[in-house]
């Protein structure tokens, strides 16, 4: 499915991602964890084309995406949501999703018809229902609550019907209760959509609870991979990661 081979990127001598190789299986739900500065976001940025890798391949169903532009990569089927909700502040929820579907169907340049296009409606409706945004469809994005903005961000990625969905800390900046609601949503999404989901998460409880597969990044390298149980009992991970992270964060 999504097959990363020898991916490397350095910034002025600092190796942010160094020779990372991992194959995300089809339909898997994988958590990427690691201490601050481990290169998690850089990893996502490389896969989605926000950064150009120095070396390595990013194969999606055998097609190498390394070095392509974000729009091209999105079209190949990699959707992404951001750590800080990245939305279109002046559009309503419904407009956002209708326009996004339009863009995905390559109708974003249509001049002679009026927005919205009828053929974009069903998918937008479906995603709104799926993420529970339907009753807020006419709210302007900027007016949404923090949690809803994060949901809208995910909806934006999802509405493009991706094969792989990358979620960068979907629960960042949320209260405990809201966090669990969000993570339930992610889980439900994965169940219903049958797509490959990769997410970055800080909260170990969440990770161990819902992710069948975990990748641990540290200083740009893969430290360990495995199931929650394997990771929990991995001495290297405990030393390098849990020690520092748990020591620092309450």
């Amino acid at each position: 499915m999504l097959d990363i081979r020898g991916l490397s990127k350095s910034f002025g001598g600092v190796k942010a991602i160094h020779d990372v190789t991992f194959d995300f299986p089809d339909g898997s739900l994988t958590a990427v964890i690691g201490p601050n500065g481990a290169g998690k976001s850089t990893f996502f940025n490389l896969i989605t084309g926000a950064l150009t890798p120095d070396a390595g391949e990013i194969l999606l169903n055998g097609v190498d995406l390394a070095g392509r532009s974000p729009p091209e990569i999105v079209r190949q089927g990699i959707g992404r949501a951001f750590q800080v909700a990245s939305i279109f502040r002046s559009l309503t929820v419904q407009e956002t999703l209708l326009a996004a579907v339009g863009a995905d169907q390559r109708r974003g340049g249509v001049l002679h018809r009026r927005f919205p296009l009828a053929e974009t409606r069903d998918r937008a409706e479906y995603v709104m229902e799926l993420l529970g945004l339907a009753n807020k469809r006419h709210r302007t994005a900027a007016m949404l609550s923090h949690g809803d903005q994060k949901l809208l961000d995910i909806a934006l990625a999802l509405v493009l019907d991706p094969k792989v969905l990358l979620l960068d800390e979907p629960t960042a900046g949320m209260g405990p209760e809201e966090r669990w609601r969000m993570i339930d949503k992610v889980r439900e999404l994965w169940d219903r959509q049958k797509i490959t989901v990769v997410f970055i998460e800080h909260d170990m409880d969440i990770v161990f609870k819902i992710a069948p597969l975990i990748v641990v990044l540290c200083y740009g390298r893969i430290l360990a991979t495995g199931t929650p149980d394997e990771i929990r009992n991995n001495g290297v991970v405990i030393d390098a990661y849990l020690g520092t992270e748990h020591g620092a964060a309450p």
């Binding site: 939305i87 339009g102 863009a103 340049g109 002679h112 009026r114 919205p116 409606r121 937008a124």
Partner: protein, 343 residues
């Protein structure tokens, strides 16, 4: 908005009806345009004031220019300080074709648009890569470059004295643009058609692509939008309308002058937008009327119009903090919300 209102709004505009609604809006636009044109067309019958007709012709020229600038500034978030170069290009292109070759007016008109499209594509391809203030500066630099060229290349452009000796206006299809009323009607037609076309652009799926780019270009590229291409497209489209405005101006003064391609024209365009408002489609048009009235009245009474104009600008920038139409629309929605909140 309260939860309740949102729910009610959702009720009244569910998805299938939204579609029908947008079609209705399209007819409404057409209706408004027809009505506006009818009113404008009746004006010469009601009033024999030539100055009023002149005023409307100038409004057409500046209105087309300012509204097209708003496609960039308001809808796409591209602050161009050099949009005036296309106004100048329109005036010079049309004037030169008519003076040197002397083809029928519609042909010169189309040829000028074609030239504008080519030039705008080349300049746009270089400019739209840059963001924010850098985009503003590089467009300004191009504007100054074009202005310098017009001044230097005097054998072709007439230099600082502009295209002299009048631009011929041979009649075509029974339309004689040297007749004042014909010229007036022609510029009204151009204005209404231009506004209608720009309205369509703003309300099309492409218009929403532009809004997305304005709000969050990074995110737009992550949902598969080729931001560069969309920006270039709107840059060229806006240039075409600005060029049309320039042609109306050239017809009005029967000449073209380097001032038409100077940065102050771009500055005036931005000023008009801020005056009228950028969040409403007709904001720039309102701004045009306001600025021209302001200009014409103030210069009538004082030669210190800089102070007067400056104070008016301060009133808008510091007092209202937005253009007139934006202010009115906001005030109206607030009032409506308050009323519906009580009721």
């Amino acid at each position: 908005m309260t939860e309740l209102q949102a729910a009610r709004a959702a009720d009244s505009l569910s998805a299938p009806r939204l579609e029908a609604g947008s079609k209705r809006l399209r007819y409404l636009d057409l209706l408004v345009a027809l009505a506006a044109f009818a009113v404008l067309a009746l004006l010469p019958l009601v009033s024999d004031s030539k100055a009023l007709l002149d005023f409307v012709i100038r409004c057409s020229a500046y209105g087309l220019f300012a509204t097209s600038l708003n496609l960039l500034v308001g809808y796409t978030g591209m602050i161009s300080f050099g949009h005036g170069m296309f106004f100048g290009l329109g005036a010079y292109g049309y004037g030169l074709i008519m003076q040197r070759i002397g083809v029928p007016i519609p042909l010169a008109f189309l040829a000028t648009l074609a030239i504008t499209a080519v030039v705008a594509t080349i300049i746009g391809a270089i400019c739209v890569r840059l963001k924010e203030i850098y985009f503003a500066f590089v467009t300004l630099a191009f504007q100054m470059l074009i202005h310098s060229t017009i001044l230097s290349w005097s054998s072709f452009t007439g230099g600082d004295q502009g295209l002299r000796g009048g631009i011929p206006r041979p009649p075509f299809l029974g339309i004689d643009l040297s007749n004042h009323v014909h010229l007036y009607l022609a510029s009204c037609v151009l204005l209404v058609l231009g506004l209608l076309a720009m309205r369509q652009i703003a309300a099309s799926p492409f218009g929403y692509t532009l809004r997305m780019i304005r709000d969050n270009p990074m995110r737009a590229s992550f949902i598969g939008i080729d931001v560069w291409r969309a920006k270039l497209t709107v840059f060229v489209l806006a240039a075409l309308f600005a060029s049309t405005g320039g042609m109306v101006m050239a017809l009005f003064v029967s000449g073209a002058y380097p001032e038409f391609a100077y940065w102050t024209i771009s500055g005036e365009g931005i000023f008009i937008n801020m005056l009228g408002g950028v969040a409403t489609f007709l904001g720039p048009m309102v701004g045009t009327v306001l600025l021209l009235i302001l200009n014409d009245t103030v210069t009538r009474f004082t030669e210190y119009h800089g102070i007067v104009l400056g104070v008016v600008i301060l009133f808008f920038a510091i007092g209202l903090r937005k253009g007139l139409m934006d202010f009115v629309v906001e005030w109206y929605t607030q009032r409506r919300d308050r009323a519906s909140g009580q009721g």
